[in-house]
């Protein structure tokens, strides 16, 4: 984000030698965001004498970011189509309430499934997804077909769904949730060392394969490609980032007391010197899957193309035969389904459903999308940007908490960063003429 000066300077000079970022075909804005993220991490690491960038804290940072990051990917679509969704936190609460009640009351009472039955978590998640998608689609219908501004529809939704959740549970905290369900929360469900490595290697191969396929495709059409060394450099960076991340997560050891409890629960005795690591949390894997799917939808499907076209010029989209009303319904339905996925992660992390779950998440989600470069004027935004935005926000918040900044000051700083990030983005766009 703070590369605007250098890129503007480079633009004004004659394009004699291509810049490094151009040769690598890297998005300068993405580089700026990654730079800002790394700066935040390094500064807090210095301020905390190295306590910030420990495997344990990085593990915690990622699992704390997942719920907001998942919803932020959907918020990108909503904002790109020039709408807004203020109801995501409340919708998360309703989905969470439905899933909690399914697990603890409705399935056991009405279907006679005993608590702990293997089908319970999956039926509950299915019900939550349907709830989220249907409520989202309904709000999209109000916006797209009845032409009520999304701001109003979802402001109403914010009040309505928070309290529908309340009625579903009579205001009670519902827990503990099903043990399998809890595995989606983070610390209670991790892949362990072996499977984390397997996944990291598979992901690396997939990323390198995608790079190779893209290059071959470009060559077959006679399009210009980047030099081979640039291709290898990019592949190296990607492989290093994925495997490095897995390495860090695989360095976080499960506390001995917890391991001993697990052995005792199985009626065994823990061998002396036995250790185990957490590895990749299932919730983070879920976020990665959501990110990949949403990126493919955004870039490689008609739906995604129409979302961006309608956001760039709604009249042009309609004149091209795109049903922009139905498109609005689809966008809000996707947002609703993602709220349900976030509800799984959020309630599983807490091991119970409480009334205030997801409170103020709408603001965090919108802020993550906007910090990630989604323009409120519509038509511009990226999935990876929104996820990075969520990570930056969570890092700021936990970093300040770790340094011991007062809670009120933490919010003041986060608010300031939000406004500043958008300002930098506006300046960047004005100078580069992009958007």
């Amino acid at each position: 984000m703070n590369t605007s000066d250098t890129s503007a300077a480079a633009k004004s000079k004659a394009p004699a030698r291509p810049r490094l970022a151009d040769t690598l075909e890297l998005d300068t804005r993405l580089l700026g965001m990654i730079g800002a993220f790394i700066a935040v991490l390094v500064v807090f690491n210095l301020l905390t004498d190295g306590r910030f960038l420990t495997p344990r804290n990085i593990f915690n940072l990622t699992i704390q970011s997942v719920s907001v990051a998942i919803m932020a990917t959907g918020m990108v679509f909503v904002i790109v189509t020039r709408h807004i969704d203020l109801s995501v936190g409340a919708l998360l609460a309703t989905c969470s309430a439905v899933m909690a009640m399914m697990q603890t009351a409705w399935l056991p009472q009405y279907l006679g499934l005993p608590l702990g039955h293997p089908m319970i978590p999956w039926l509950a998640i299915g019900a939550g997804l349907v709830t989220g998608a249907v409520i989202g689609a309904f709000q999209g219908w109000l916006t797209g077909y009845l032409l009520i501004p999304a701001f109003i529809v979802t402001l109403g939704g914010l009040l309505i769904w928070r309290n529908v959740g309340w009625y579903l549970t009579n205001g009670q905290t519902i827990g503990p949730l099903d043990p399998t369900f809890q595995m989606f929360g983070g610390i209670n469900g991790t892949l362990g060392e072996f499977w984390s490595w397997v996944l990291g290697i598979v992901a690396t191969l997939a990323a390198l394969g995608a790079l190779w396929v893209k290059r071959r495709d470009k060559l077959s059409h006679g399009f210009p490609v980047k030099p081979l060394w640039a291709e290898f450099a990019l592949g190296g960076i990607i492989a290093g980032a994925i495997l490095g991340f897995i390495k860090i997560l695989n360095s976080y050891e499960v506390p001995v007391a917890r391991l001993r409890r697990e052995f005792e629960a199985r009626g065994e005795v823990m061998p002396e010197g036995y250790t185990e690591v957490y590895g990749l949390p299932i919730s983070v894997l879920l976020l990665i899957v959501v990110a990949v799917v949403m990126t493919i939808v955004a870039r490689k499907t008609r739906l995604g193309r129409y979302i961006f076209a309608a956001g760039g010029n709604p009249q042009a989209a309609e004149l091209s035969g795109i049903n922009t009303r139905l498109l609005t319904v689809k966008v809000f339905a996707i947002m609703g389904a993602l709220c349900a996925i976030s509800a799984v992660v959020a309630s599983a992390r807490l091991t119970n459903h409480s009334n205030d779950i997801g409170t103020l998440d709408e603001l965090r989600v919108i802020a993550a999308a906007v910090i990630g470069g989604t323009a409120l004027a519509g038509g511009l935004g990226t999935i990876y940007g929104a996820i990075l935005g969520a990570l930056i926000m969570q890092s700021l918040q936990s970093g300040m908490a770790m340094v011991g900044v007062d809670a009120p000051l933490q919010n003041i700083v986060v608010g300031g960063v939000l406004v500043l990030a958008v300002l930098i983005d506006i300046i960047y766009r004005r100078r580069t003429g992009k958007g």
Binding site: H221, R305, A316, L319, G321, G433
Partner: protein
């Protein structure tokens, strides 16, 4: 010979304003019919009915001697009607290939967008229409007025239009680019397309069109062959809203 398009008694009103009032018009293959009139005369509204953006209150559209039902831009495209709108109707945030194929994307066998094929097709057609066109990958907001225009024209020409509607295609263009559009119109006409052309430039219309129709206040004042009338006759039709004296 059956007309390519036969518009019969079309009318449309917007909240009490009769934007198009009982207009009948036809178009033959290989013919250019010009629509003239003041701003607000109903030209753009008329062709927006033909291109599916508006639905007429009454009247019929016949294509190739058969009654056509055009309720949406998609329907119009199914009849091979392509439109270059006055506003160009481009999504500014997307690059040229995405705009060219908007609503009709090429896809791979797995159903995903085939961006490479769309890009290579775009390069091909742009090489023909505007050889100076280079910015394939940039959003069209970064293009000049003439380049944007050629993207909009490419979109209409690419899909084998039989009926082409051009609403002020040269309004934003320089002298050189205007000539390119004029040459293109002649070329397409020679290929047998029927073209409805809207413009304010009477001289250009006299040069490019076979017939011109003049509209005023939503009504059709008259349709004349260009060789039968002078530029002054046309101007007086536009201003006075009356047919010229044939006796003269």
């Amino acid at each position: 010979m059956t007309p390519l398009v036969d518009i019969r008694n079309l009318s449309i009103a917007f909240g009490g304003v009769q934007a198009v009032d009982d207009v009948s018009l036809d178009l033959y293959p290989g013919e250019v019919v010009g629509l003239l009139g003041h701003n607000g005369a109903g030209k753009s509204t008329l062709i927006k009915i033909l291109s599916g953006a508006y639905r007429a209150d009454s009247g019929e559209i016949w294509i190739d001697g058969k009654k056509a039902t055009i309720n949406s831009p998609r329907d119009a495209r199914a009849y091979n009607i392509e439109t270059i709108h006055q506003t160009l109707a481009l999504a500014d945030n997307l690059p040229a290939p995405a705009n060219l194929f908007l609503g009709r994307e090429l896809r791979t066998m797995f159903g995903f967008l085939d961006d490479s094929r769309m890009e290579s097709e775009t390069r091909k057609i742009m090489a023909r229409l505007n050889p100076n066109f280079r910015k394939i990958a940039e959003p069209v907001s970064a293009l000049s007025g003439g380049q944007r225009q050629s993207v909009a024209i490419a979109r209409a020409v690419y899909f084998n239009a039989r009926i082409l509607i051009m609403d002020e295609p040269t309004a934003a263009l320089g002298v050189h680019e205007t000539k390119m559009v004029a040459d293109l119109i002649k070329e397409l006409k020679a290929q047998g397309l029927g073209i409805f052309l809207i413009s304010h430039d009477t001289r250009e219309m006299m040069e490019l069109c076979d017939r011109v129709s003049v509209m005023k206040n939503g009504q059709l004042i008259g349709t004349e062959r260009v060789e039968d009338v002078t530029e002054d006759d046309i101007l007086s039709m536009i201003i006075m809203g009356k047919k010229p004296e044939k006796a003269a």
